[in-house]
């Protein structure tokens, strides 16, 4: 089920050297990076159950190896148009405050080692919805990587609930 499981803590010693490892993902064509120690695993969401009356960002709940995972549609969360069809979707498994969440994304990229010093603040004119959950931007060759702040992605939703 899981394409490439990352065990938490793999990046534990990287922060000392000023390097942070990111798992990159694509959502609506944009490159995002999640600090690797936040990522529990990567999986293909299967047989999702809708949850009536829930927030629109919540795609549903699903069974991942005996745990119930709440899946969050990141496109909706970011105010992007929804994808057509269900083929090839992926999810990033996150543990947050003792619960399991799955962020549904379009595609998983690679693992990048980036210099913590290279991180830049959000541009002032960034879409509010994005600024809310972005922990800054890294300039890579040819593209920009937005850092996805997991705490903020989920924390805001919990507040709203």
């Amino acid at each position: 089920m899981s394409a490439n499981d990352h065990t938490p803590g793999a990046a534990a010693n990287d922060t000392h050297s000023g390097q942070i490892q990111y798992v990159t993902v694509f959502i609506g064509g944009q490159l995002f990076g999640l600090p690797i120690h936040k990522v529990h695993d990567v999986f293909v969401p299967e047989s999702m159950t809708r949850v009536p009356l829930s927030a629109s960002e919540i795609a549903g709940v699903l069974n991942l190896r005996g745990r119930i995972v709440t899946a969050i549609n990141m496109r909706r969360r970011l105010g992007l148009p929804l994808r057509e069809g269900n083929h090839g979707i992926m999810a990033v498994g996150i543990e947050y405050r003792g619960e399991s969440y799955g962020l549904i994304i379009d595609e998983v990229g690679e693992v990048l080692n980036l210099d913590a010093a290279g991180r830049e603040a959000n541009p002032a004119n960034l879409d509010r919805r994005w600024a809310e959950i972005s922990g800054g931007v890294h300039r890579l060759s040819g593209q920009l990587m937005v850092i996805l702040d997991v705490e903020r992605v989920l924390g805001r939703m919990l507040e709203a609930a």
């Binding site: 009356l53 619960e99 969440y101 919990l158």
Partner: protein, 933 residues
């Protein structure tokens, strides 16, 4: 840390908790020797064990406390100061224990001379006899010396001694138990005593044994000290024997063992997984008709179920465990704050999952503290407002539909609305304008906001700004909710609702709009299949769907509507299944598209992100591996809300009433109308309770009407003072009979109580039968018979009834004015010409005068001549041999019914069973009519 020490720590902590509670009790009843004995025993055990483990500080403390308590036993007066001192000592011991645990078994350095000398002084003071007084200071240093000397030895002996150490424990236990069972010594004393030192480690066990034995003798001068010693000795022998042989028979403690909680947790998780896997297997086998797996799987299934039950049981603990510390806390607070507080605890035996129990301990303690500190007033303030000086904090727990409800109520001053408002504005939580729009309850809820404290002065107890938000967070982490009610001057009540998250529930799997949902079977009454052309079909009143089910109208709600799901256009609305559900008093039908099977599920708590959805109580993984949401019947019921009025008088209740108890209690509906005094009507007369929106009340032809179930229902006001509301909803009691309904408008429905009714003061005011004491208050009993004709002038003479051609003459005997007044109109309504008598003799006089009746209804319990005798008398007279007689009694046992039959009654009806009475009358008179014609 040493296993033994670890065990000592847990055990001692538990004992200390008990000591806390017992001491507070003891302070209140200082003459209760049993409580004192219990405390003494516990402290003594602690002392003994400490001495053994080489913990001199603890031992010295325990000993000094024990000495003081010894004085109590000898009759020294129990003062508050003395108890406080002992409690203080217990606290010190707890402190040392905590450090001991943190330091991996090393007793912290320090001096307890302060406490010990106080204890000793108190012992001296408390002691009248000088000789006794000398003992205390002597006794104190003694164990110290011994322990100091013993440290070295102890180290050396540590490993070898272990059997001996356990023996000491057993010895103490035996000592405790010997108080109960002392008889029949089996082994000669000498033999045992000789044997013991040889088998067990001699020195230490010997010393302690003697000490304990000596103390037993000294303290209990009652009979058979020898037998006790012997018993104790025997246990020592056996135990050491067992240890040396490596088997464990005969140990007193083998009945129960301590298991690490983690082990249990793990076991539970594994069992849950096993259940899910079993479900998956069952699912697979269900698809293959002739599978050879079927039989073994069935067995596996049964075993799994039992295993699951067993593991669940190990986790259940009475909630009283979480309350144990509270009496002590409340006592200390009362002293500190100068208040008088009584702590009432109800439902301590209510069991809940231990994990949940652990998590609510702290919030509960906090809330009780809050009630004591903020809630209750000082005695002088209480006196001023006419309350008793002693404030009451009531703690209660009970199960309700898969939840545990815990209430913390105080009879104090209630929350200070003004102060809360100020604080909200100060903290910028809301603006004044926003506050204006909020209800009181919404404003009260702000006390759960972070950093919110209204305490004007910071006491050591509360007012530090941390508190209720932590309480709320803690409760919410386990999927619970906390709510509060407050009445200024009357007190406030906090209600905590915690789900039994780990409970295993049997559910019905249903489908709606292509999604499956699980409904807990507990609230499912029955299933009905509806089709537009079948007997059961969905009908509509305006747009409200209803179902006729056994002559009752069942309100229906499509699940899809409740869950706001998109209904596909081509689906027929009138075909599907109705899940008839009952939640509390509310019965309603949930319309679903399909019903599958039932399945046992392990409820898993929902993600916090979904927890606000009240329609669901949790989710789970089904046999096929998919996740399913579990419907919360309570949530659904409250969503339906007032649309479905409480079906208070359905068959279910009538059944209950048929078995009414002997002391003739009846259910009364209490309400307010026009004035502050409560009013009441017997619940059995009320068909239902309704609330109508004010806009729905129409005015026509000089009277108020509402459209109700397809027809117009006139509204009647009990008096002119009933508050006619301008907006919102108006509550009313609906009385229906044979398709006609009347709404009696009231201000507020207060309660339903069961009490024996005794009208003490009659009334001349029309519409009121008189006054009775209900719930300790004078209450007006309404005469419904007066109001029915106000709604329909012809209520008592309706066409369908007079179609029975002639009104039949009925004689009704009852010694109770209430029942004469209550049932007379009822029978009149059923088309009879009713003559009422207050006694059998009156009735005989009437009959003797030559009056003829078609039917006689008689009470059984009457003075002078009772119903049985009356019936027997009638049957002996040729004139009345064939007159139908119906017995009416509060006592409906098979024996009394049989007695009634023998006496000549044709029917036997319970007094509160109005429909039963009418049915009996109809049946008897129509049969009679048939014969006559």
């Amino acid at each position: 840390m040493d296993d033994l020490l670890r065990e000592f720590l847990t055990e001692t902590n538990e004992s200390l908790d008990v000591v806390d509670v017992e001491l507070v009790k003891f302070e209140q009843e200082p003459n209760n020797a049993r409580i004192l004995d219990n405390i003494f025993r516990l402290v003594h055990t602690i002392k003994g064990t400490c001495g053994f483990l080489g913990l001199p500080r603890l031992e010295a403390l325990a000993h000094a406390a024990e000495t003081l308590m010894g004085k109590f036993r000898e009759g020294a007066p129990v003062t508050q100061d003395a108890v406080s001192l002992i409690l203080q000592t217990i606290d010190r011991i707890k402190g040392i224990l905590a450090e001991l645990e943190a330091n991996e078994g090393e007793e912290p350095k320090g001096e307890d001379r302060d406490l010990i000398s106080q204890l000793e002084a108190m012992s001296l003071a408390g002691d009248a006899a000088k000789a006794e007084a000398k003992k205390a200071p002597q006794a104190a240093p003694a164990p110290k010396k011994e322990a100091a000397g013993g440290t070295l030895v102890q180290q050396v002996l540590e490993r070898e001694l272990r059997p001996g150490e356990v023996s000491l424990d057993e010895l103490e236990r035996a000592f405790r138990e010997t108080e109960v069972e002392v008889e029949t010594p089996e082994v000669p004393v000498a033999a045992v005593v000789e044997e013991a030192p040889v088998v067990a480690a001699p020195q230490q066990a010997g010393i302690d044994f003697n000490r304990v034995a000596a103390e037993i003798e000294a303290r209990m001068k009652q009979a058979q000290p020898e037998a006790r010693v012997e018993k104790a000795a025997k246990v020592v022998t056996e135990d050491s024997d067992a240890d040396s042989k490596g088997d464990s028979k005969g140990s007193v403690s083998s009945q129960s063992i301590r298991v690490n909680v983690e082990t249990l947790e793990h076991l539970m998780t594994m069992v849950s997984e096993l259940v899910l896997t079993r479900n998956q297997l069952l699912e697979i086998v269900r698809r293959h008709e002739d599978s050879e797996f079927k039989v073994p799987l069935q067995r596996l299934s049964n075993v799994t179920a039992e295993l699951q039950e067993g593991v669940m049981k190990t986790r259940m603990q009475p909630i009283g465990n979480a309350w144990q510390k509270l009496p002590r806390i409340v006592r200390d607070l009362a002293q500190e704050l100068g208040k008088q507080i009584e702590l009432e605890m109800i439902g301590a035996e209510t069991e809940l999952d231990r994990q949940v129990l652990e998590l609510i301990k702290d919030p509960l303690t906090h809330m009780v503290r809050n009630s004591a500190d903020h809630g209750l007033e000082r005695p002088e303030d209480r006196k001023k407002v006419g309350k008793s000086e002693k404030g009451v904090i009531k703690l209660s727990a009970y199960h309700e539909g898969g939840h545990i409800i815990i209430e913390i109520a105080d009879d104090g001053r209630g929350l200070n609305m003004e102060r809360i408002r100020q604080k909200i504005i100060e903290n910028g939580l809301a603006t004044e304008a926003e506050l204006e729009k909020m209800t009181e309850n919404q404003i009260y809820k702000y006390i759960f906001a972070p950093g919110f404290s209204t305490a004007a002065k910071v006491t050591s107890v509360s007012g530090r700004g941390v508190g209720m938000d932590v309480v709320r967070t803690n409760i919410e982490t386990i999927g619970g909710t906390v709510d509060l009610k407050s009445v200024a001057g009357k007190g406030s009540t906090f209600t905590i609702k915690i789900p039994l998250t780990l409970a295993i529930v049997s559910t019905l799997i249903v489908e709606s709009c292509g999604d499956r949902f699980a409904i807990p079977q507990l609230s499912v009454v029955e299933l009905v299949r509806v089709q537009s052309n079948s007997e059961h079909r969905i009908e509509r009143i305006k747009d409200t769907p209803v179902l006729r089910l056994r002559n009752k109208l069942l309100p229906l709600v499509p699940l899809a509507n409740l869950l706001n799901m998109e209904v596909s256009a081509e689906k027929s609305e009138d075909e599907g299944f109705i899940v008839v559900m009952q939640v509390g008093n509310v019965t309603f039908g949930l319309v679903v598209d399909g019903v599958f099977h039932t399945e046992e599920i392990v409820v898993k708590p929902m993600s916090k992100m979904l927890r606000h959805i009240t329609m669901f109580s949790g989710n789970t993984i089904l046999g096929d591996g998919s996740v399913i949401m579990i419907i919360d019947p309570n949530g659904v019921a409250s969503a339906i809300g007032t649309a479905v009025a409480s079906e208070l008088v359905d068959h279910h209740d009538a059944d209950k009433q048929r078995g009414v108890e002997n002391d003739a209690k009846i259910s009364m509906l209490l309400f307010r109308a026009g004035s502050a005094e409560p009013k009441a009507v017997p619940l059995s007369l009320v068909t239902r309770l309704e609330e109508f929106e004010i806009e729905k009340i129409e005015h026509s032809n000089g009277r108020d009407l509402v459209q109700y179930r397809g027809s117009l229902m006139p509204l009647v006001y009990p008096n002119y003072d009933v508050h006619r509301r301008e907006e919102g909803t108006q509550p009313m009691l609906v009385f229906s009979d044979a398709g006609r309904s009347m709404g009696l408008v009231v201000d507020e429905i207060v309660d339903i109580v069961e009490e024996s009714l005794n009208i003490q003061v009659g009334s001349d005011v029309p519409g009121i039968l008189g006054s009775a004491v209900i719930k300790g208050k004078a209450t007006e009993i309404l005469d419904i018979g007066h109001y029915l004709p106000l709604a329909f002038e012809d209520w008592f003479k309706r066409k369908e009834i007079s179609s029975a051609a002639l009104t039949r003459k009925l004689l009704f005997l009852d010694d109770s004015a209430f029942f004469r007044n209550m049932l007379g109109p009822v029978m009149k309504a059923a088309g009879f010409d009713v003559t009422v008598c207050a006694s059998a003799t009156d009735a005989m006089r009437l009959l003797g005068d030559g009056q003829l009746f078609d039917v006689i209804v008689s009470d059984i319990e009457m003075p002078v001549v009772n119903g049985f005798e009356f019936a027997e008398m009638l049957r002996r007279d040729a004139r009345f041999k064939r007159t139908p007689i119906i017995a009416l009694s509060a006592l409906c046992t098979p024996a009394s019914i049989e007695r009634g039959r023998q006496s000549g009654f044709d029917e036997y009806v319970a007094k509160f069973d109005r429909p039963g009475l009418i049915a009996a009358l109809k049946e008897i008179t129509s049969a009679d009519y048939g014969i006559a014609a």
